[in-house]
């Protein structure tokens, strides 16, 4: 009886060990997250999205530009987003290095109408594990339009 109990506890222990091992090994640290920038930007620099995968061999400066005078201001770093961000044309130039407008429009028609007027980061988020635009529901999508298209200007 005691032998059987001992065997069961051994099996359970082995299972627990395997599970904990697989949990830790499922998310290997991405190369981009050991970038020099991460020494300061531990919290806001974590790159968990698609663009951070090792095979793409991207670094922080691939999109944000070379460090230059940073952290002094003004500097030439590209800041993505809507508020306190770089000029829309500057932001677009970075994304357009790889993403061709023709291909973007075949994926989603709204790319065409916003072409050079809205920065990609107004809708897309690259640092989070998944882009909020991936598998967006119709309801959330129409609410996103509403954020800017308020009908106030007419």
């Amino acid at each position: 009886m005691s032998t059987r109990q001992w065997l069961w506890s051994l099996r359970l222990g082995a299972m627990a060990l395997l599970l904990s091992f697989s949990a830790t090994s499922a998310e290997p640290a991405k190369q981009i997250n050991s970038d020099a920038c991460m020494k300061c930007h531990k919290r806001n620099g974590q790159m968990l999205g698609h663009h951070g995968q090792d095979a793409m061999k991207m670094t922080c400066s691939s999109c944000h530009g070379e460090k230059g005078d940073h952290p002094k201001k003004p500097n030439d770093l590209v800041v993505f987003g809507l508020n306190e961000a770089s000029e829309t044309s500057v932001q677009l130039q970075v994304c357009h290095k790889c993403h061709m407008p023709a291909k973007l429009s075949s994926q989603e028609w709204t790319h065409n109408v916003h072409a050079q007027k809205v920065a990609c980061a107004a809708c897309h988020k690259l640092h989070s594990p998944t882009d909020p635009m991936a598998e967006i529901t119709p309801k959330v999508r129409s609410e996103l339009c509403r954020n800017c298209h308020t009908g106030q200007q007419e």
Partner: protein, 228 residues
Amino acid sequence: MENSKRRFLKGTCALLAGASGATLLATVSASNEAKADPSVKYALIHDETKCIGCKACEVACRETNHVPEGVARLKIEQTGPYGEYPNQFYHFSRKSCQHCEDAPCVNVCPTGAAFIDKETGIVSVDAWKCVGCQYCIAACPYKIRFINPVTHAADKCDFCRETNLAQGKQPACVAACPTKALVFGNLKDPTSQVVQVLKANPTQRAKVDLGTRPKLFRIVAKSGEVAI
């Protein structure tokens, strides 16, 4: 004896004449009421120049009227892109019930399930009367009717007659539109927004040559970018 019989006959005749006269009067007044024009006649305008194609109307309609997936009371049809990159644009047009004054769907319905609401002019469906023969679907020149997979009855836009309108609110699509491209109101009220917009803008209706007298108006989009 003779006298009493005579009086009885006279009295009965008078009573009968009175009663028939009263019923006649009653029916005349009733038919007059039915003919009297209702004070409310709802219409909708889709201003395509303001529509940005966000489809918030579609989503709101589905939610409010519990329209199951796979069918829709309201669709925004998109054409384009027009123009050259980066100045491209699209056109959006609304596809939904036109609420015809002379509705073919109502004319063909054998059970009376399809009807025009006398008080509002809204073309509607009594789901419990519908036997699903689909005559209305065949008859509708605008191809907007469908069989609801849940109720198994013919279904279509009813300006939220049973949901939002009943609660004194605007139809769901109108309330949801962020750019106020949809204007809903009473055609009989000269001060209503819908009448003001119709007076101020050139509008079009679909297939008017069929004599259906539809009440869904569109302000046709000009070419060029849509301003927000």
